[in-house]
Subunit: 227 residues, 2 copies
């Protein structure tokens, strides 16, 4: 028999639950977060909800406005650029280590993530696509073998994954681009082309930031028209 | 009048307090952490202490052994290597951004940190030296302008700073090496030599890991002798 895992901290479970709801778009960007409302939905007391919101504020997923309340973040373009730099620095470094140390497993796991993304696209399943995309990028981090980066990575990409969900309608048009980039990355890993793989991962991450910039520009143009 | 800052979450204050005690060596590597003991010293209830220990476990500073208790971490050499890679990846990337975007401020802040380290050495003040060293490396991250990396950096280098304190007796002999590396880094930044600066920061971080490896080897040799 496997030993039963000791209970996780309620604060951690609550944090993970709210983080996932933000990433999946269940709690949209900019929406107000009520401590009591979340406590009711999660059927727990307010205290772990309060601590979870403090944690998520640290991760950049929640913004607290004193005397007004807590909100899901809405990044300005500079925050999105900072997040893109941060993510591509980590993923490029992990790609290099993974190709050098663990290339066979890396290629196999990237191919498996790619297969799941293709299935999700075929079934028009956006939640499945997001999960498969996370699997693909997690494989890069896990195969690097660096446990310290693996520990912080999920808290780093949260805001970017939430942005990705937010942009899903815009991104649908770009899905085939994204899929060919994933395929090209697998080929570069197979050829152990470290510099090419690092360059591509950066371009891949910054395509999302470019889409966000376009969506902000479009909103501003719309606002200027109606002003 | 300046507005009064809203009260920080008690959990966050508690986490910061315990993290600093570990980094400063007040709570040595491997020592047992009693929830009640910490609650008594900090004059708070056990609940925020419990949540703080859960946070610090996420950061890698605390290890929880089910049914035994919580301990300050004692990294094996692989964990130390992972931490060194993680830290030098972030600092090298930040150096590049800081030199490109903000070089004058960077050089001025590095010089100011260097001055404080020299004063601490002159006064034989190890705590002051640790604080000045953190200031020096924080300047690299802050001057990069990347707010996302700035947010996670203190939680990333905690375990390495704790290692540094732990090795302080060994490191005293290496202090002049370390000081000349700091001086050389300032010169490379002044010359905007990005590749040189990135290479040196990696060597500087990995010198610490090398010292830790030597101290583990020495302990093992001692244990083999007495066995």
């Amino acid at each position: 028999m496997q030993p039963i895992e000791p209970a996780q901290s309620l604060m951690k479970v609550t944090t993970d639950r709210i983080r996932l709801a933000i990433i999946a778009g269940e709690l949209p960007l900019g929406s107000k977060l009520s401590e009591q409302g979340l406590a009711d939905v999660l059927q727990i007391s307010r205290s772990p909800v309060r601590e979870a919101l403090a944690m998520l504020q640290q991760e950049g997923l929640v913004e607290v406005v004193p005397k007004v309340g807590s909100f899901v973040f809405t990044p300005d373009i500079q925050s999105a650029l900072d997040l893109g730099d941060h993510r591509s620095i980590l993923e490029a470094a992990c790609l290099e280590m993974a190709i050098e140390r663990n290339n066979k497993t890396l290629v196999a796991e990237l191919q498996s993530g790619m297969k799941q993304m293709e299935d999700a696209v075929a079934q028009n399943d956006p939640v499945g696509y997001t999960q498969a995309d996370m699997l693909f990028h997690n494989a890069i981090v896990t195969c690097s073998g660096n446990r310290s980066i693996k520990r912080v990575y999920p808290n780093t990409i949260g805001p970017l994954m939430a942005l990705r969900t937010h942009l899903f309608t815009v991104m649908n048009a770009h899905l085939s681009d994204s899929m060919s980039e994933h395929a090209a990355l697998i080929e570069l890993c197979q050829n152990e082309d470290i510099e090419g793989a690092k360059k591509l991962i950066r371009a891949h991450v910054f395509k999302l930031i470019g889409l966000y910039q376009s969506s902000i520009d479009a909103q501003n143009a719309e606002a200027a028209k109606t002003a």
